[in-house]
Symmetry: C3
Subunit: 349 residues, 3 copies
Amino acid sequence: MEFTAQIIAGFLGGTVEGDPNTKVHTIAKIEEGFTGALSFLANPKYTPYIYSTQSSIVLVNTDFVAEQPVAATLVRVNNAYEAFASLLDLYAQSKPLPTGIEEPSFIHSSAKLGANVYVGAFSYIAENAVIGENVKIYPQVYIGNKVKIGDNTTLYPGTIVYEECVIGNNCIIHAGAIIGADGFGFASQEDTNYKKIPQIGNVIIEDYVEIGANATVDRATMGSTILRKGVKIDDHVHIAHNVEIGENTVMAAQGGVAGSTKVGKNCMFGGQVGISPHIKIADGVKVGAQAGISGDVRKPGAILLGSPAYEIGRQRRSMIVYKNLPDLVAKVTELEKTIEELKNRLAKG
Amino acid sequence: MEFTAQIIAGFLGGTVEGDPNTKVHTIAKIEEGFTGALSFLANPKYTPYIYSTQSSIVLVNTDFVAEQPVAATLVRVNNAYEAFASLLDLYAQSKPLPTGIEEPSFIHSSAKLGANVYVGAFSYIAENAVIGENVKIYPQVYIGNKVKIGDNTTLYPGTIVYEECVIGNNCIIHAGAIIGADGFGFASQEDTNYKKIPQIGNVIIEDYVEIGANATVDRATMGSTILRKGVKIDDHVHIAHNVEIGENTVMAAQGGVAGSTKVGKNCMFGGQVGISPHIKIADGVKVGAQAGISGDVRKPGAILLGSPAYEIGRQRRSMIVYKNLPDLVAKVTELEKTIEELKNRLAKG
Amino acid sequence: MEFTAQIIAGFLGGTVEGDPNTKVHTIAKIEEGFTGALSFLANPKYTPYIYSTQSSIVLVNTDFVAEQPVAATLVRVNNAYEAFASLLDLYAQSKPLPTGIEEPSFIHSSAKLGANVYVGAFSYIAENAVIGENVKIYPQVYIGNKVKIGDNTTLYPGTIVYEECVIGNNCIIHAGAIIGADGFGFASQEDTNYKKIPQIGNVIIEDYVEIGANATVDRATMGSTILRKGVKIDDHVHIAHNVEIGENTVMAAQGGVAGSTKVGKNCMFGGQVGISPHIKIADGVKVGAQAGISGDVRKPGAILLGSPAYEIGRQRRSMIVYKNLPDLVAKVTELEKTIEELKNRLAKG
């Protein structure tokens, strides 16, 4: 399939600058462009590439000002990144999706499947599970007893959903993610052996949530571990029992939230962040990679860094001093010498 | 099913305070209580909730002293948390467990299965595997050649056990855990390519061990990687080749132990802890989240924090100074000025 | 099977010291040796064991000088560790490998399988997948549409390879590894909901790559996430979208590389290392465990430590001062007092 700059601009509500009949048949990064490809420019860091790219069409923001001649045909749009993303959507949606029930699969007779469901081979759907419409269950997925899955949700291969967990509409669960394994709860006993605390709660995942490959969301001891609408967690992220993550909060790879912590909405967490148990984090908080949050974060919109994590400005000032600590020691040693000299001079004087 | 306070107190060996005929049919957290629910109070942090909870019965410690009127019927027991856990056990055990061999599954003719085993569909049991009594093998589990699994052990869906590994009695292996993958061992070669060192050992997991979802325990190069009786490791924990973890040691999510390290018994590790290879950690050591242990820990019962980890008191003192490093720099700068002035005064004087 | 010291020396190109007819039938660590076992000594830390080992034969480096009598027969070779590894190879290769297509498995009629392929039960090979010769696909593996896998590659149970990814020759992918899940890409929208950026690229894994259990390598947004020839990544490692890892670079367990970062060749990363997105790391860089790399590393062969990571010498100097920060504060407080006294004396004087 080929599209002209004219058609693309029409679809995106943008304007063409250059030949409206320029054609593209695929997409490419601006720095790896070639004839017939469409690229975009959003991050100013990549601006130099627009003067050298071989791509035939480039989406740019309406306020882009070329400082040199540009060979590509430009399509100006309000937000080049979003516009490009919507073209990616179109491209992605043009791929055929699997449908039907493949054999062998295991679907308990009491399970209810919505219209237009895909169930891949070797998937297992247990008693009284309820699967919504248009759900795509790839091969080798496990859906436990009484699990409920909303409409239009996709479960990639090897996803495991333990019994009684609830997943909303329009969610994406990537391969190897484990939803609803037991929380890590043990009671000390006098003989130092631990007694397992049964984990009889569940996990509730609301609509539009995306869960990365090999991530884990543990079931609550009682009640529910909850991921609110629009939450996105990356690969290897761990959400412990009884945690609640607020709407549209995103957490990058390998982060972990310990038990019973409540995280606000619209927060952003870098990779490998660790969050202590039984704390509360306000809305809109942003946290740098590898940070460790050990106590409540009460200020909405706070930006934190470090382990233990503080407000970013303070942390950065300490980080700079830390890097130069040997200099500080040298300075103090120098001061000691000077003072010793002063003392001697005073004694003599 | 409903139980009265009288019956619960009888079962737990406790005493009733209030109406012994108060009935409950389910359990709830004290802060989320409702009529007909049973709750418990153990952590003093939650004491305020006992005066407002809607739960019908609350388990409390014998030494609990109410400072305001309590609406709920109380059942006093020696250890409210443990007592509650044993009720959770009862509740959990009331759920029917799967039994029998589901089809399609793959069970090699040379494999031996104990009485009352469950093998879920799409599970694979290879040559000469030996499975004990009452073992629950959920769907999509892989049991390699010559693997031995003791009695009453549960393997949740998608668990993988490589050949020749040994798992004890009464263990719980959560979904996606990988037991016995190759240790990470390569020999440098002159041309900078690495030569794989075959990993011909195995993993031995003793009785009463629980392994979290998506955790990994690598097989030994030679000999065995060993998890002693009662060890509990959380989701995403990584145990490298030839490691030995002592009895009843617990490690929270995303921790990692590098190759050949020996960890003592009754240790506790917070989340995301990293432990260097080829070291020894004494018994009863406690380590805070995100710590990095880079050398032997010889003192039993040591409490460590930070990366690199030190004794907690010392680490906390350094952490406090670190947080205020810019103040220290300001103070030193101030001292420099003062000394300069003193020198000038002395020179003038 | 038994081998004599003579035969082993012949195979390894070494020389025998002791009885050339000494026989062994298995291998053991030098500190756990027993009659009939072969061990090796490479790490000087283990030298004391050579005087007490019960092993019948020990491989040693040609330059090994015994300082006490050694009971075992020695075989001297240029590199005892490599020589031992090649014996391990022999031992490992003596195990029979699975072959053939087990049932039930799902192989799409359009998929192409090379000669001598093993496909375990419950594995799924989708449309137009192309599998090379001698490939071992263990049970419960998922191979997506149009995936290409080279010759002699092994995929352990539960491995998932998303559509269109490419895996080279002689690779080993351990259980639970996920190749080609979506990169973590979302565009902010005005209403704070995120819009998913479709990830339409793929993953390319070149020859001789080994990928640890439960590791994840995400597909590129566009183009390819690339692991070059000879890369080794350990369990739980996360490689984000559009990352490129250079030849023969090794990364220990639980490390993570964020999106679009380019890592050089022959680098070594300790466990739990985190690497920021959109940066470049030179060739031959070595990084200590738990380090966090937040910017470009331009110096080839640099050795880095800490989070944020610096050159190791500087970092260690700061670490030492950090550990003694309370002493530094005490010293500064002492100086303040002394200066105050001097001022008073000057004022009086």
